[in-house]
Amino acid sequence: MHELSIALSILDVVGEEMERHEGARVEAIHVKLGPLSGVVKEALLSAYELARMQTPYEEARLVFEDMPIVVFCSKCQAERSVHSMQQFCCAECDTPATEVLHGRELELAALELEE
C-alpha cells in the first residue's frame, strides 16, 4: 500500500502549481494513470480521501484518465496495444513487445480551478 505516499505526492505537486494561481480554488485534480504505473486506482482514491483532509484541497475531486498500454511493435513497425499485462505481445501479430511507449503514466495532467 504505497497509495498514501502517492496521494501525498499528488497534493505536493498541486501545491507547487497553485503558487502560480493565487486566490483560485481547486475543484478537481486530473490524473493520468497507466496500468504499468504500479498504482491501484481504488486504493489511490481511498488514500486520497485521507490525504486531502485539512489541506487547502479538501474540496477537490480526484479524476482519473485511464491510459492504455501502447507498445512499438518491431514487426508491424507501428504503435500497437498488447493482449494483456500477462501476455505482453502485439495485439495484432503476437510479436513479443519490448518497447513500451505508454502505460507507465502517473501524471498530474490538469487542474480545474474556480477563480
Binding site: 504505473s37 499485462m85 519490448t98 498530474l108 480551478l113
Partner: protein, 222 residues
C-alpha cells in the same frame, strides 16, 4: 468573478521529486564508476542470502561491493550481510512498504562512492509498491524463489515488467517442490519479453558463477 471552472494543464509526473533525486543519484553513480543494482521480490524469496553470497564472492574476487538494505523494522538483514565484510547500511522504513530515492541518498551520506565497484540496494520485500519508484539504479533485479510457484510473474506483471533481469533463487529446492523451470521462464517471458533469466542457489553456489560473470562484464566497460 467567473463561476465556471478553468482548466489548467500541469503535465507533471506525480513522483517528479523522487525522479529528480533518482536522476541526480544516477549521475553521481556514473561519475563514480559504480554499478548499482536493486533487488525486488516477495518477502522470503532469498534476497538476503543471495546478496550475502554475492558480496562474499565479489570480495573474494578482489572487487569492492557494498549494500543498502531496506527493511520495515529490524536490522537483521544488515547484520547478516555485514558478515561479508562489505560496507552495509540498513534503511529502516518503518511502515513504508518501499524505498524511495531520497532514502538512498540519505543512507549514502558520508560514503565515498569512488572507493566502491558495486552497490546493491535490497528493497523491502514487496512485489507491488517498489515498482513505482526509481532509485537511480542501473539494473533492477526481480527475484523469484522456486518455492513461490511458477505463476508469480502472472500475478505481479507490473513489477516483472519494470525489471531488467529475473533471478530464480533456491534452485537447490527445485526438485523437492517440483518446480517447473520451463513454465516459470515462459511466464516471465510472457510478462516481460526479452528479459534475461538466471537460475541459481546461494546455498549450494549453483549458478553463482554465471551471475558473477554477468556482474563482472558490467563493470568491465570502465
Amino acid at each position: 468573478m467567473s463561476t465556471s471552472p478553468r482548466i489548467v494543464e500541469v503535465r507533471q509526473n506525480v513522483l517528479k521529486h523522487n525522479d529528480e533525486v533518482a536522476r541526480a543519484l544516477r549521475s553521481r553513480f556514473e561519475q563514480a564508476g559504480i554499478l548499482v543494482v536493486s533487488l525486488v521480490s516477495s518477502p522470503g524469496s532469498g534476497k538476503t542470502a543471495f546478496l550475502e553470497k554475492t558480496l562474499t564472492l565479489l570480495k573474494q574476487a578482489g572487487y569492492r561491493p557494498s549494500a543498502l538494505v531496506g527493511d520495515l523494522a529490524t536490522d537483521n538483514d544488515a547484520a547478516r550481510l555485514a558478515r561479508s565484510e562489505a560496507p552495509v547500511k540498513q534503511i529502516t522504513t518503518g511502515t513504508l512498504c518501499h524505498l524511495e530515492a531520497a532514502m538512498v541518498e540519505k543512507a549514502l551520506e558520508g560514503w565515498n562512492l569512488e572507493e566502491l565497484d558495486y552497490l546493491f540496494i535490497e528493497n523491502v520485500g514487496n512485489l507491488v509498491c517498489p515498482a513505482s519508484y526509481d532509485l537511480g539504479e542501473n539494473l533492477r533485479l526481480v527475484l523469484l524463489s522456486v518455492t513461490e510457484g511458477e505463476d508469480k510473474p502472472l500475478k505481479y506483471p507490473t513489477i516483472f515488467n519494470s525489471a531488467d533481469l529475473a533471478v530464480i533463487t533456491k534452485l537447490d529446492l527445485a526438485e523437492a517442490v517440483e518446480f517447473d523451470h520451463e513454465a516459470a521462464r515462459e511466464n516471465i517471458r510472457s510478462v516481460r519479453p526479452g528479459m534475461a533469466v538466471m537460475e541459481l542457489s546461494a546455498k549450494t553456489g549453483q549458478g553463482m558463477d554465471h551471475w558473477l560473470g554477468f556482474l563482472r562484464s558490467k563493470i568491465a566497460r570502465t
